[in-house]
């Protein structure tokens, strides 16, 4: 059971929006995490280095959180087999669908992209469905 935390969620969202805006206004690039990481698997000249720096920033942010706000970092409650299955689906799906929660959900919707709206509704729906199946059917309410 988790608690309703609208204000910290909104503040975190504002920081994410500012981050994406900084990247866009100063470098012209879209803050889609799956695209940034996926692009590193196939380094193109001139595009790999800033992506690696963005990734380094994410990790540095993780280190800062582990000191300042360690309770914000947690592992998935599902068994490791499901974590691996989840990772495979997330990796393959975000490349096939050209984006994830950041690229389609934040950046795409901010641009009023209909394509991103369709993607966001789709992953929200299948996300809710798979959580329902794992939690309520497979594990009967747990984890």
């Amino acid at each position: 059971m988790t608690n309703f935390t609208p204000w910290s969620a909104m503040l975190g969202g504002v920081l994410i929006g500012l981050s994406a805006s900084m990247l866009l206004l100063l470098t012209g690039r879209i803050a889609g995490i799956s695209g940034i990481v996926g692009g590193l698997l196939r380094p193109m000249s001139g595009e790999a280095v800033w992506r690696a720096w963005f990734l380094a920033g994410l990790i540095a942010g993780g280190l800062a959180l582990s000191v300042l706000h360690p309770a914000s970092l947690g592992a998935t409650p599902v068994p490791i087999g499901l974590a691996i299955a989840g990772g495979l689906f997330v990796g393959f799906g975000t490349r096939l669908g050209h984006g994830c929660t950041s690229g389609h959900g934040v950046c795409g919707l901010s641009r009023l992209s209909v394509r991103s709206l369709v993607a966001t509704f789709t992953f929200m729906a299948t996300g809710a469905l798979s959580t329902y199946i794992v939690r309520h059917i497979v594990y009967g309410g747990q984890p």
């Binding site: 990247l23 470098t27 990772g87 901010s110």
Partner: protein, 140 residues
């Protein structure tokens, strides 16, 4: 390190802090948001509200600019069509997200915990991306 690289680093850092403040880096919190049939926790809808509220204003501003500060041009996504790949990819991503509570950004930020399950998730995610590159991109 160019100015563009420095901005990318700062942007990644700020992005991670935002995810942490919002608790997107806590998979149990994410699953509470996706579990609409259980003890639903709608908090994470407010992450989208805050992020889109801010970013939409700056996108409008960016569209009035001739070019970004440290680059030649804006890299706006060119695709506009809604095709089977978009929907299938988003559907598969949602399945993985709903199973684990992790999407790419929060998983990478959480790597610092060195939790075996988080490391396994990230390695599997990279494998999924590599599988896509090997078997899908070469056969359009």
């Amino acid at each position: 390190m160019t100015k563009r690289d420095a901005v990318a680093f700062a942007s990644g850092l700020l992005f991670a802090l935002g995810l942490g403040v919002a608790q997107m880096t806590q998979p149990a919190k994410v699953l509470g948001f996706l579990d609409i049939a259980g003890a639903w926790d709608p908090s994470l809808a407010f992450v989208m509200l805050g992020a889109i509220g801010v970013h939409a204003l700056f996108v409008r501003y960016a569209k009035t600019l001739p070019r970004p500060r440290f680059a030649e041009a804006f890299s706006w996504p060119e695709a506009t069509g809604i095709d089977a790949r978009l929907v299938a990819g988003a559907a598969l991503f949602g399945i993985g997200w709903g199973i684990s509570g992790f999407c790419p950004g929060p998983a990478l930020v959480s790597l610092v915990t060195l939790s075996a399950k988080t490391v396994a998730f990230v390695l599997a995610m990279l494998a999924g991306m590599a599988i896509h590159r090997l078997f899908v991109r070469s056969n359009p």
